[in-house]
Symmetry: C2
Subunit: 295 residues, 2 copies
């Protein structure tokens, strides 16, 4: 077996992503020799011990990171600033500090200034997920064929970046570097806006007083179902993503609303060619997706 990348990895937060990485680390053995898990409640930590992918659990994040040569933040991004402040004095010299947050400019803004000299901060985002959350939700194939985007600030230690990249490759992921602002815009359109829309349309449907929720539920197979799948994701995680990628999300939503208004106008005035053309574009993107095997 290849030597483990790290002696000790500490997960702060252990939801879908964290528990998937921990399961892979446990199964492969070549990611970290020891796995420490921190979560906000003893109940979660008890569950983690029962699930068997951690060597040790710690209720205090400061205790969890001591002597760890890799610390991975897996909490909702809104919790990162407080977590970083708490752990900063306890981070081991030379340790790699990384995260899995879906917004990268905010993470660099919140954590960057708190990172002690000699600790290497490598922001990362594995672009993978399901609508399930919590330590039970993770599984070892989650990252296979998916991308992990690294957004290290200029001047970050190249060895540290490579170690994080290798960790994600060992998780089955493809790895790419990206500028944080560009990351936030791309993710706003492919992920944040679709989620915002899915949450919204579920609310719109729920508000219809004259059509009962049961009817919406009965006939959901016809399109609505896919939106509810997306909308089943973790509320706190998504609240934090929207608030921490505000500018890009608002810009993409604005563009989308203009396009939706143009469709409304075409429907009102019976512009069949316009509608057909827009529908055709959806098909084209779907075909590219299937060709790239992301479908």
């Amino acid at each position: 077996m290849t030597a483990p990348l790290f002696k000790r990895i500490a997960f702060l937060g252990i939801g879908l992503i964290g528990s998937s990485v921990a399961r892979i680390a446990r199964e492969r053995g070549d990611i970290a020799a020891e796995i420490v898990v921190n979560a906000r409640t003893q109940q979660t930590l008890d569950r983690v011990m029962a699930l068997g992918f951690a060597d040790r659990v710690e209720l205090d994040p400061a205790e969890a990171v001591k002597d760890a040569d890799c610390v991975m933040l897996c909490a909702p991004v809104g919790a990162f600033a407080a977590l970083a402040e708490r752990i900063a004095p306890f981070l081991a010299p030379g340790a790699v500090l990384t995260d899995v947050g879906s917004t990268k400019q905010s993470v660099i803004r919140d954590i960057g200034p708190l990172v002690p000299a000699g600790v290497h901060f490598v922001p990362a985002h594995p672009v993978a997920g399901t609508e399930y959350s919590g330590p039970d939700a993770g599984f070892t194939t989650l990252f296979e064929g998916r991308w992990t985007l690294l957004t290290p600030p200029p001047g970050t230690d190249e060895d540290a970046i490579e170690k994080v990249a290798e960790l994600w490759r060992r998780c089955g992921s493809m790895v790419e570097r990206m500028e944080p602002g560009h990351h936030d815009r791309v993710l706003a359109i492919v992920s944040h806006l679709p989620h915002l829309i899915a949450f919204t349309i579920c609310g719109t449907a729920d508000d219809l007083a004259d059509e009962s929720r049961q009817e919406v539920v009965n006939f959901a197979a016809s399109g609505f179902r896919d939106f509810t799948r997306i909308a089943a994701s973790d509320p706190v995680m998504w609240r934090d993503i929207f608030l921490n990628n505000r500018e890009a999300v608002l810009e993409m939503l604005q563009r989308f609303m203009e396009d939706a208004q143009a469709m409304a106008r075409a429907i009102r005035w019976g512009d069949a060619a316009y509608i057909e053309d827009k529908v055709e574009r959806g098909r084209k993107i779907r075909r590219s997706l299937i060709a790239t095997k992301q479908a």
Copy 2:
């Protein structure tokens, strides 16, 4: 075996829905003794004969409906008026004329006045589908556990309604009657609006000049993918649905846009509680859906 419901069924149009019903009729034998298929092109008809679920194919819809005691319109709803005009003089006395269109007020408006005395018009809508279209796309389990909604105008012959209901039950579907206007509003929110949104967001993503389509495609797993699946549906069918359920679609889109604007405002002003509440509602609807087994 139970006696067939009909001596001869004629399908006008043979896409996903029509070819699924035809396959079931062929397999069960108790829906119709003879299956006749009409489509717009000889190429489609040749394919239908090769697929083996038709006894006869006819390029002229008038020829297809002659002596049929059940005629099922399975073309896009925008083609119904012309089809009905063409076949009306050739419909057999006592025949049942039904359809599978996704909009019901427009179907009654377009076909109703053309139905000859003695022919029984029973509008129907099987609420089932996939993103695939054409005679190859059909399969025999498409309607299992799904609803078919019947929207017969007042005064429609009860025996004819019951025969259509029984046809759909034999296809595996649950059957319910609904007022056409109510049908159009319910479907606008559960199906038409989700499709309109999916088509639109694919266009919005495609328009981003600075983020390439390849990046959108690479990271689509993160939410966008479900929208492209919906958006892969047949363009002509959807164009016709939007144009023929105009008022309900525009109203639901308007409600949705107001809700999306409210979300945008909450994001801009950092209203965390509002966002979390909206996200929670999506989860609740998803849970109802899973409880009703439509997920």
